[in-house]
Symmetry: C2
Subunit: 333 residues, 2 copies
C-alpha cells in the first residue's frame, strides 16, 4: 500500500481521533509517527499507533491531558505532561527552551510524567532547525543490566545530539546505550533465530544466544563499562534530577500491561551565537572541516541514511505492508 506523506498524516490523525485522543495530542503524535515512517525508521513509524492505542486501552496514558508549564529557573523550564504522550509537552516547552538558550547561552527543558515513544532525533531536529545545539536523554523501562551484573536496572536509555549546519542537514545522532534495541531481540525470537553472543544474559547471568532467555534475563549495555556508565548517567539526569522515575520504577508503574513507557526526559540546548559572537561563521566553518575529514576517508556521518530516505519519501511517498495497513484500518472501525 503506497501512500503520500499527506495521506499518511490524514490516516494517522483519523485513527487517533477515532480512538479518543484530543486534537492536540492526535496532531503531536501524528507528526512524530509520520516523520518516523518518512525517514524509514519503521519501528518509530505508523506501526507505533498499535502500541499507542493499546497503552490508551490499558489506562496507562491520558488522551487529553493539558501540559502544565513551570519556569523553574532562569535557564530551566519544566513541563508536566500530566500523564499524556510527550509530544504535546515538548511542543509547549520548546519555544521557552529556545528563548532561554538564546538569552542565556545554555538552557534545559525537563518533561515530566509523560508516556514516551518518540525517537529523540525528531525533537533534536526541532532545536537544530533554530540554529541551536541540542542534547536529549531519557530512561525507559528496566531491561538492561549494568556491566559486571546481570539484573535489569537500566532501560535502553538513549542519548541524542544535534549540531546545526548552514544549508545542510544537521549532524544528528540518537542511539540506545543498550547494545541493541529490545525490538531487535524480539524480531529474532519471532523468526526463531539465535542472537549473537554479547547482546544479553539469561536470568542466571549466563551469556546466551537464545532471544527468549535474554528477554527474560537482561540485555547488556554497548561498549562495556563505558556504555554502562552512560546508561547510569541517563537514569540520573533524566530521572531523579528532574523528579521523575528511573527505569526500574517505570517498569513497576507499568504493572505488566506492556504499555509504552512512562517517565521523564531532559533536553539541553546551547546557542553558538552566545559562545562565539561575531566569530561564529569562522568557527562553524571549522566544524565543516571536521565533517569533511570524516567523510573523505569513506566514514559516514550519522543520520545520512535517514536523510536520504526522507528525500525519497517526500518525492514518492511510503509503502505500508498490507498487514500493517489492515491492522491500522481496524482501528478506524
Amino acid at each position: 500500500m503506497r501512500l503520500s506523506l499527506s495521506e499518511l498524516d490524514d490516516f494517522s490523525l483519523k485513527i487517533l481521533l477515532r480512538q479518543g485522543f484530543s486534537f492536540e495530542h492526535a496532531r503531536g503524535i501524528t507528526d512524530t509517527v509520520v516523520a518516523g515512517e518518512r525517514d524509514e525508521c519503521h519501528s518509530h513509524g505508523l506501526y507505533r499507533l498499535l502500541g499507542i492505542v493499546e497503552t490508551l486501552k490499558a489506562g496507562k496514558v491520558s488522551p487529553d491531558a493539558k501540559p502544565d508549564i513551570v519556569e523553574q529557573a532562569n535557564s530551566i523550564v519544566t513541563v508536566d505532561a500530566c500523564g499524556g504522550f510527550s509530544q504535546l509537552a515538548f511542543k509547549s516547552g520548546l519555544p521557552i527552551l529556545v528563548e532561554k538558550a538564546r538569552n542565556n547561552g545554555i538552557a534545559a527543558l525537563a518533561i515530566n510524567n509523560c508516556v514516551h515513544f518518540s525517537a529523540l532525533w525528531f525533537e533534536i531536529e526541532q532545536l537544530t532547525d533554530q540554529g541551536l545545539i541540542a542534547l536529549a536523554f531519557t530512561p525507559s523501562q528496566a531491561g538492561v543490566a549494568p556491566e559486571g551484573g546481570y539484573k535489569p536496572v537500566f532501560g535502553t536509555n538513549p542519548i541524542a545530539f544535534g549540531w546545526p549546519r548552514a544549508g545542510k542537514d544537521p549532524f544528528v545522532f540518537d542511539f540506545a546505550t543498550s547494545v541493541i534495541a529490545r525490538g531487535d531481540i524480539e524480531l529474532h525470537r519471532r523468526a526463531g533465530k539465535q542472537i549473537p553472543l554479547g547482546w544479553g544474559v539469561d536470568i542466571n547471568g549466563q551469556p546466551s544466544t537464545d532471544p527468549s532467555a535474554v528477554l527474560e534475563g537482561a540485555m547488556r549495555t554497548f561498549g562495556g563499562h563505558k556504555g554502562s556508565a552512560l546508561a547510569a548517567m541517563v537514569e540520573l539526569i533524566a530521572g531523579p534530577l528532574i523528579g521523575d522515575m528511573t527505569s526500574v520504577e517505570s517498569l513497576e508503574w507499568d504493572e505488566g500491561t506492556k504499555s509504552l513507557p512512562r517517565h521523564g526526559e531532559l533536553l539541553i540546548a546551547l546557542d553558538p551565537k552566545c559562545f562565539l559572537g561575531d566569530a561564529a561563521e569562522r568557527h562553524l566553518a571549522r566544524a565543516e572541516s571536521l565533517f569533511d575529514n570524516i567523510q573523505m576517508q569513506g566514514a559516514r556521518l550519522p543520520s545520512q541514511r535517514r536523510y536520504q530516505a526522507r528525500k525519497r519519501s517526500i518525492a514518492t511517498g511510503v509503502e505500508l505492508s498490507d498487514s500493517l495497513y489492515s491492522d491500522l484500518r481496524n482501528l478506524l472501525i
Copy 2:
C-alpha cells in the same frame, strides 16, 4: 621511595618553581598531579611533571600566563588561559560557573587556549563538592579514526560526569572515547608485546596487533559507531562551539614537539536544587536506590578503586619508583 602527600606536594611545587612556573601555576599543577598520584592514577600523577617541563622547554606553554575571564552570557563564562596550563583558568572560572549554575539552574564554563593534561574527574569533583551535577568534555590531539575510516581525526576525547551524594564519595566517571589510552599502546610497544586486535589500524587501515603500526596508523573509538559519534560530539562542543581547536588542529599546532596538547574544554554544571526545590531530598534518595540496585548484584560503580586508593594514600603516603624519583630530582638541579 615512600612520601606523604604533603611531602609530594612540596616536591612538585619546588620542581615547578625551579623550572620557572609562576607560583599560581605551580600551585594549580601540583594540586592536579598530587591528586592523580594519591588516587593511584599514575599516568596523571607526578610522572606528568616530566612532560610538563618538556612542554615548557619546547615553548608550547606559558609559565606565567594570567587567565582572562569573560562572562559571555547569563549562563556562560569563558576563561582564556592565554597559553598556560588549564588549572589556573579552571580555578578562575569555577566560582563563576558555580554561581551561574545556582542562579540559573544550568551553566557552562568554556576554557580556551589552554594546555591540558588533567584528568577530568579532578575538575568534576570540585563541582560535586559544591552539590552540583557536572559534565566535562575536551578534545586532544588527533590519533583516533572515526568508525568506518582509518585516518586520525579525533583525540582520545574524554567525557566525564559527576553526581553528588550526601555523605558519600560522588558518582563520577571519566573515560576516553578511544578504545584505549594512547599510553597503553606505548607501554605494549616498550615491552615488545602485541596489542589485542580491535585497538587500532595500521597506516593502510588494516587491523593490526603491532603497537608501532597502530601508533603510526590510528586508534579506534570504543563501542563502534556509537563511541565514534560521541567522539565527534566532543570535538564539536569543546572545539568549534567554544572557538577552540579540533584535535587535528591541535596536532598541527604541536609541530611534532610531542608536547602536552593545547586546546579548549567545555564544562556544564546543573543545580539539583533548582530542578527539585523542596522535593530534592526525596528524589536524591531514589538515586541512592539506583546505586544500590547496581551494587547489590555485584556490579561496581565507577571511581570506587580510586576512592579506595585515596584512603590508603592519605593514611600511609604513596610510593614513587626509584627511577621516577631520580628523574624528578634532576629537575631540581
